[in-house]
């Protein structure tokens, strides 16, 4: 893992010192709220529905056990004993007191963490494939470039007052586990003729105008990447709409000007600034890459694992759903579900965080990842350790065998916490997960991604859910629209809206009708929900959803 330098530590310490003084001045009245608000947002501090919320960056979702334990400490010392992992690989604390936040930031700094650029119109926390460095299908680890981008973008003077927030995601594999096509910039590490480079996509995003990113450049060499990305952001910084918040994101700029014109401008800008990049960035990249060298994998028998699979059906079910192939022989990637049936997706208690930290330290080369799907990953685990890990997870409510299934739902905080939300999303996720647990259908249904947002900003990625749910306020009551057939993977697609929305107490039964329609229409157990939807189209699901008469009335 990358260790922050003395410069990094001094930089964060100075920022924290400044913020402590700003908080004191707000409390003693020297600063008005209008003056204070942009300062607190620069440090990840929001005011939500019921309390302040501190959003902490977990760059590219990577952390070690010491950092995870510190996150647990913050949850217990200054919050309500839990944290919420988000779709952007951050952690949010929902209940801090304003006066305590500087102490929280200092505690984070002790372990090389911070909340800088987790808010505001700037380049946000760079996200990456949560299997980075471990995935069997990986071309190269995407984290070194994500770290390079983090260092480049942090407090970059040109990019602190962008037209709007800006999100970058990186994958090192053909399989997209980072939703790169729904980001302002999506990067895919590729290999061409033995040379590593990057496929650069631009202009993806969800929200009120969802768009799939377009390829801006099919291959950018490593040594050209930073000036190229800088050129993209600079072009948008100049062209991007500042007159209308809803048209400010780069997806609109690309849409209005066309990808060819954006490409022409980026190339022209790149030609101007490329000579100013002297190669220091390339040297730095090599140093960062060395810090992400793979751990020393061991060779050992996997017999214990095979025996446990044969003799323990609960372990077998868990290993079938929650493990992923690792690049090293005898190893697996462990996905720890934060989606126990009926629980709040993405929440982990301080105790659970410590358990995961202990497991990472003892069995996982001291590495953890946070996934954009709001789960925690132990990326490097020898299979012989899996029975012990499973036993420990079971004791602490962390062994739910549901990764990629109906109850592994992405849900934004919604109106239970968020000031922007127009409806709740968490209780809907809880209701769906509980219903399918009671029906015992989850494993029969198979891979299915349900994603729920409590407002049009789409933090729950509903547009790219196989089943997407969008909660809205319709005439003073919660109403939920459904989309079908979306995907956030390499075959990224926006879902199709089914029709009129459903009331809060109707949405869980409506989702059940959709899934039962899939079970009735699938060609075999091997045909996934998404495959069946792509073969069948909307009609049979719409019929199941609205009853025949309503379908005719809508036509």
């Amino acid at each position: 893992m990358y260790d922050y330098t003395d410069f990094d530590a001094a930089f964060v310490a100075e920022r924290n010192r400044q913020f402590r003084a700003q908080v004191e001045r707000r409390i003693d009245g020297s600063l008005t709220e209008d003056e204070f608000k942009p300062l607190r947002l620069m440090n990840g501090l929001y005011l939500q529905l019921h309390a302040y919320m501190l959003r902490v960056a977990i760059p590219y979702g990577t952390l070690n056990s010491r950092q995870m334990r510190q996150l647990a400490y913050l949850a217990e010392r200054w919050d309500k004993g839990y944290g919420h992992f988000t779709t952007r690989q951050n952690i949010q604390y929902n209940w801090p007191r304003l006066r305590d936040v500087p102490d929280m930031l200092d505690a984070l700094a002790e372990v090389g963490m911070h909340a800088i650029q987790t808010s505001g119109n700037t380049i946000r926390n760079v996200t990456a494939d949560h299997f980075a460095g471990a995935a069997a299908d990986e071309v190269a680890d995407p984290r070194p470039v994500a770290e390079l981008l983090r260092q480049w973008s942090t407090d970059h003077p040109e990019f602190q007052f962008l037209p709007r927030k800006f999100k970058i995601a990186v994958t090192g594999s053909e399989t997209d586990r980072a939703v790169i096509k729904a980001h302002d910039i999506g990067l895919q590490v590729v290999e061409r003729a033995g040379q590593i480079g990057y496929r650069v996509l631009v202009g993806g995003g969800l929200g009120r105008t969802p768009m799939i990113g377009k390829v801006l450049n099919d291959f950018v060499r490593q040594e050209d990447l930073l000036p190229y990305i800088e050129s993209v952001v600079s072009v948008w910084n100049l062209l991007g709409r500042r007159d209308n918040k809803f048209k400010s994101r780069i997806k609109i700029t690309v849409h209005e000007h066309g990808i060819e014109e954006i490409s022409r401008r980026v190339d022209a800008h790149f030609a101007r600034i490329r000579p100013t990049f002297s190669g220091i960035d390339t040297a730095l990249f090599e140093r960062i890459k060395a810090a992400f060298a793979p751990p020393a994998f061991r060779e050992a028998s996997t017999g214990v694992f095979e025996t446990a699979r044969r003799t323990d059906p609960i372990f077998r079910a868990w290993s079938d759903t929650n493990l992923a192939p690792h690049r090293a022989p005898g190893y697996a990637i462990v996905q720890i579900s934060l989606k126990a049936h009926g629980a709040t997706p993405g929440d982990a208690t301080a105790e659970q965080m410590r358990v995961m930290a202990d497991l990472a330290e003892r069995y996982g080369h001291d590495e953890l990842r946070i996934s954009h799907e709001q789960n925690v990953i132990l990326p490097h685990v020898h299979k012989s350790d899996l029975p012990a890990i499973h036993a420990s997870l079971k004791k602490h409510g962390l062994a739910t065998a549901n990764i990629g299934l109906v109850s592994d739902i992405i849900a934004c905080p919604g109106m239970d916490y968020c000031a922007l939300a127009t409806a709740r999303s968490i209780p809907v996720a809880q209701g769906i997960a509980t219903r399918f647990e009671e029906l015992k259908l989850e494993h029969d249904v198979g891979p299915l991604k349900i994603k729920i947002s409590g407002c049009i900003n789409a933090c729950g990625h509903h547009h790219v859910g196989h089943i997407g749910i969008l909660g809205l306020d319709r005439a003073g009551v919660e109403n939920y629209q459904i989309t079908l057939g979306g995907s956030g993977a390499e075959d990224a697609t926006l879902g199709d809206r089914t029709g009129p929305g459903f009331a809060y107490d109707e949405i869980v039964p409506a989702i059940e009708r959709i899934i039962r329609a899939y079970l009735a229409h699938r060609e075999s157990r091997d045909e996934t929900f998404l495959e069946a939807y792509r073969r069948l189209g909307l009609a049979p699901f719409k019929a199941a959803l609205y009853e025949e008469a309503q379908v005719h009335a809508a036509e």
């Binding site: 005011l47 529905l49 019921h50 309390a51 239970d416 127009t422 009551v477």
Partner: protein, 103 residues
């Protein structure tokens, strides 16, 4: 014809804790909606809002929220204000543990 004025309460978040608070007849803040001042006159509501906003050392984000008279004091008319009153609904923690009964 001008739209009839809907009764309001003045609400905000406490500066230090972030808790939802309501303005009282005594020019103070309470965490209980039932103890809030219900404003039924538009002009009066605007004046009271100015008074409340002047307490920027105690609160943040002051605004008028629709409410109605209930048996035990003001009640919310919109689900958003109901959640602000009760706290999160996903499980029992936060404000509803102490201040408001679960529905």
């Amino acid at each position: 014809m001008p739209k009839a004025f809907t009764p309001k309460v003045i609400t905000a978040n406490a500066l230090i804790e972030g808790d939802v608070v309501y303005f009282t007849e005594a020019d103070d803040w309470t965490r209980h909606l039932a103890q809030a001042e219900l404003l039924t006159d538009e002009a009066d509501a605007q004046l009271r809002l100015l008074t409340a906003e002047a307490q920027a050392d105690k609160v943040v984000g002051v605004y008028l929220a629709d409410a109605r008279a209930g048996e035990n004091g003001p009640e919310p008319t919109h689900f958003r204000e109901d959640f602000r009153r009760r706290g999160p609904s996903n499980y029992a923690h936060g404000k509803q543990e102490h201040h408001a009964p679960r529905p």
